[in-house]
């Protein structure tokens, strides 16, 4: 067990409704008021799973600064979304979290389950339950999906002190997962992503997430290139993999996905920073009025901010 770096907080939510609580970023007075109107049930918020503080990172090869102070806290049971224009640094943030060698973290901290994430090798992060789906997963011809998945599953199981699975046992382990995701068992025999369609690659990422039973899933544009039916399938799969102690961080351009995988928090990223955070309504503003809409809301709020805050 790990110890949370923050104290557990109490908050009030309405029974049965999507719950909503302060996000540890910029707490807005208005939101507190809204919640106090609900029937009150006292619950403990999940423990903090991931805490990113003032994260700055550059491209290792060129030294180009990409992330300029990102702050983000994700707790167990939560679903967050990061939205932002192309090139704002969403994928860079995702890749920094999993330790991609293209980037170098220059300052700030990332705490995952209470330990310093940046101290861990990429494979150690994965085994500790951090998962990122790649925006464009690489093809690995010659390596079958079943071998790849079994290597991955066993690495994680070893970490968790579970028995490693032989090829046959693995089959028994993965088949129900495929079925739950409504995926064709044929996926197992094919080479990793080789000659997969865009949609198939995305599903394969979700299959890996499922096999690894990750605690936090960072899904980078899991919706891109999918038609509406495929999107719904992928979204259902993501929802079905949620556990009370796991969390999901979705990176997306479009509100579309968020209609199916509903986040409690939406963050807007621009030029390597999260410039605004709020609830799902932020995605609505973005959809209706674009980034200008977000900016004018920010200006509005800034002017309304009570001096006494």
């Amino acid at each position: 067990m790990y110890t949370s770096s923050l104290h557990s907080r109490h908050c009030h939510i309405q029974r049965g409704a999507p719950f909503w609580r302060p996000l540890g970023i910029r707490q807005k007075h208005t939101r507190w008021c809204k919640m106090q109107r609900f029937d009150t049930v006292r619950v403990f918020a999940g423990e903090v799973l991931l805490e990113v503080k003032d994260l700055e990172a550059k491209v290792a090869e060129t030294g180009q600064m990409i992330l300029r102070g990102v702050n983000l806290t994700v707790r167990e049971g939560e679903t967050h979304a990061i939205m932002g224009t192309n090139g704002s640094g969403k994928s860079t943030l995702s890749k920094c979290l999993v330790g991609h060698p293209d980037y170098e973290v220059t300052s700030g901290t990332v705490t995952y389950k209470g330990q310093n994430l940046l101290d861990l090798e990429p494979e150690e992060r994965a085994r500790a339950g951090l998962f990122m789906s790649f925006q464009s997963p690489v093809e690995v011809p010659g390596v079958s999906n079943s071998d790849f998945l079994r290597l991955a599953a066993n690495a994680r199981r070893k970490q968790l002190g579970q028995e490693e699975l032989g090829p046959l046992e693995f089959y028994g382990y993965v088949m129900p997962k495929l079925a739950a995701l409504k995926m064709n068992p044929d996926f197992l025999n094919r080479d990793v992503n080789a000659n997969f369609s865009g949609g198939e690659k995305k599903r394969n990422e979700i299959l890996q997430l499922s096999v690894l039973e990750a605690d936090i899933a960072v899904l980078d544009e899991i919706d891109s290139g999918l038609d509406i039916d495929a999107l719904r399938d992928v979204a259902d799969a993501v929802n079905s993999l949620k556990r009370p102690n796991s969390a999901t961080l979705m990176v997306t351009h479009y509100k579309r996905l968020l209609n199916y995988v509903v986040p409690e928090a939406v963050h807007i990223m621009e030029a390597g920073k999260i410039i605004y955070s709020g609830g799902i309504e932020v995605a609505d503003i973005l959809e209706q009025d674009g980034y200008e809409g977000i900016k004018s809301r920010m200006r509005e709020e800034a002017s309304k901010q009570p001096v006494s805050a």
């Binding site: 060698p101 494979e123 990122m132 690995v140 010659g142 290597l151 690495a155 080479d191 990793v192």
Partner: protein, 532 residues
């Protein structure tokens, strides 16, 4: 505009993917990098002259000094009138001289033999002083005393067992060629449509075959192609008439009897207009423990009429004492497609000379090669593709692993896009993996562009695995040593997965497994260029 430098934009694209580019000829040699993190070859500003990646800074390989190059006229100069200039050729011709009892040959074969025999009288076999053979010393091959066994010596049962062990289940025809002669007994063509002909020249439509036999070799063949023409005892003919599509492969299995020390298998493949076929040539050893040095000097001529499509597979799994020379000559009429897929793992000294001529517009040419050089093994690929007509496509992928300090890979891939070949789309990539210190490759990807409206990509990556693939494994919890191992074992798969034939893939994979079994797959090897 004449130049062989790759297009800058695509160079950068490959760099981003973690590749290192070397324009022009280069030689690489690996050394172990002391660090633990994967390293990439990072050297810039190379001149297009010959480069060698040596053991480490300052230390240069004595094997790689530049040598004066003789041109072919210099090689043949001084031929003694009447007699035969080259001693090895003289021995070969004497051994292959038809005796009185030998059965008469079909007339096209006899004509070719006569022509090639007389051409050989003034020919000399190449040495390392010849630019084309600079890194490939055929000396050990020329030391083998040519000896031809009588067909009566062949152990039928043993050969049948080898044939049995090398199958491709779905093949429409299986042709077994023993010491260069088609075996009627072991071959079967039942699955073929009746319009197509696959079999020995003895039974083939002779006048048709006579039009093509030896045509390409005469003008574009290597010295070994001429030797093949003089010594071939039979020709396997594949003829697919206009519009006929063979949807299953023809599997040709070449087996040395073990009694001859030299054989000259020959294939002639003629595809009519819009015909389609797949021919897989597989060269194997007569026994797993077979250790007699021998020469396989094979040649294939491929004729593709307009719109024809030929998939050509070439697999070399010969024993470790085989000297294996292979010529592949291709002529492509307009809109035809030629696709070569090659896997070479066996043999001691092997070389393929591929020469493709484009005879019309909109041809498609694809060449994919996977070579694995183990202990005291040298694999050489020399390819020449000349584009002289508009809107052609050419795509070449060369992948080579050198898994031993005594192993060497050689690649010289020449793609020449002539002035008339506007709107050509040409790509060439050579990827080489040096697994141990002193492992060496001499690579010279060479894309020459004369035409100006051409899309070309070109690259040469040396020494490391694809970083993206490696990271993908790590991001799923697999440590980098395991990931490297898996990726090295599957390095050739990008080529061999072209074959959806499980038995063939299994044979190749077990050869890969065997070759890599005792190789320490290290964290990383850094290659450094050394000027030669």
């Amino acid at each position: 505009m004449l130049g062989h430098l790759p297009e800058v934009a695509s160079q950068q694209a490959y760099r981003q993917a973690g590749q290192h580019f070397v324009p022009g000829p280069a030689c690489f040699s690996g050394r172990q990098h002391p660090g633990t993190l994967p390293q990439q070859t990072r050297k810039g500003g190379l001149s297009p002259s010959l480069q060698c990646w040596g053991i480490s800074g300052g230390q240069r390989s004595p094997r790689l000094h530049a040598l004066p190059v003789l041109n072919s006229s210099a090689v043949t100069d001084g031929a003694a009138a009447g007699g035969t200039e080259d001693k090895w050729i003289a021995r070969v011709l004497a051994e292959f001289q038809p005796s009185d009892e030998s059965p008469p040959l079909p007339y096209p074969l006899e004509a070719m033999q006569t022509e090639c025999t007389s051409a050989l009288r003034t020919q000399r076999m190449p040495t390392t002083r010849n630019e084309e053979y600079r890194f490939t010393d055929v000396g050990p091959l020329l030391q083998i005393q040519p000896q031809v066994a009588s067909p009566l010596d062949v152990d039928g049962e043993a050969v049948a067992a080898v044939s049995e062990a090398h199958s491709i289940k779905v093949a429409a025809a299986k042709i077994v060629v023993i010491d260069g002669v088609v075996s009627d007994q072991l071959s079967s063509t039942e699955g073929l449509p009746h319009q197509a002909f696959v079999g020995s020249l003895r039974d083939a439509p002779l006048d048709l075959m006579a039009q093509y036999l030896g045509q390409q070799a005469r003008t574009r063949g290597s010295p070994f192609a001429i030797v093949n023409g003089a010594t071939a005892q039979d020709v396997l003919c594949v003829y697919v008439p206009d519009g006929v599509h063979l949807d299953k492969p023809i599997h040709v299995l070449y087996i040395p009897s073990g009694h001859s020390t030299m054989a000259a298998p020959r294939l002639l493949c003629v595809l009519g207009t819009d015909a389609a076929a797949e021919v897989i040539e597989e060269f194997v050893s007569p026994a797993t423990d077979f250790s007699t040095p021998h020469v396989t000097n094979a040649l294939a001529e491929m004729e593709l009429a307009q719109g024809a499509r030929l998939k050509h597979g070439y697999v070399c799994l010969e024993g470790r004492q085989a000297m294996h020379m292979k010529g592949t000559l291709v002529r492509q009429a307009a809109s035809s497609t030629y696709k070569l897929t090659e896997a070479r793992l066996g043999g001691r000294l092997t070389r393929q000379d591929v020469n493709v001529a484009q005879e019309g517009e909109e041809t498609r040419t694809e060449m994919r090669s996977f070579l694995l050089c183990g202990d005291r093994q040298l694999h050489d690929l020399h390819s020449k593709l000349r584009l002289e007509h508009p809107r052609g496509t050419a795509d070449q992928l060369h992948k080579c692993i050198v898994a031993a300090g005594t192993g060497r890979g050689v690649f010289d891939g020449n793609v020449r896009v002539e002035q008339k070949a506007q709107k050509t789309d040409a790509g060439q990539l050579s990827r080489n993996l040096l697994l141990v210190p002193r492992a060496t490759v001499n690579v010279k990807p060479n894309l020459q562009i004369v035409a100006d409206d051409v899309k070309c990509t070109h690259g040469c990556a040396v020494s490391d695995l694809e970083e993206d693939q490696l990271f993908y494994f790590r991001a799923r919890g697999v440590d980098s040593a395991t990931a490297r191992r898996v990726l090295v074992y599957s390095f050739g798969a990008e080529v061999t997965t072209e074959w959806p034939y499980q038995q063939l893939r299994d044979r190749i994979q077990s050869a890969v497994d065997l070759a890599l079994a005792n190789v320490p797959i290290m964290e990383s090897i850094e290659s450094e260029p050394v000027e030669v």
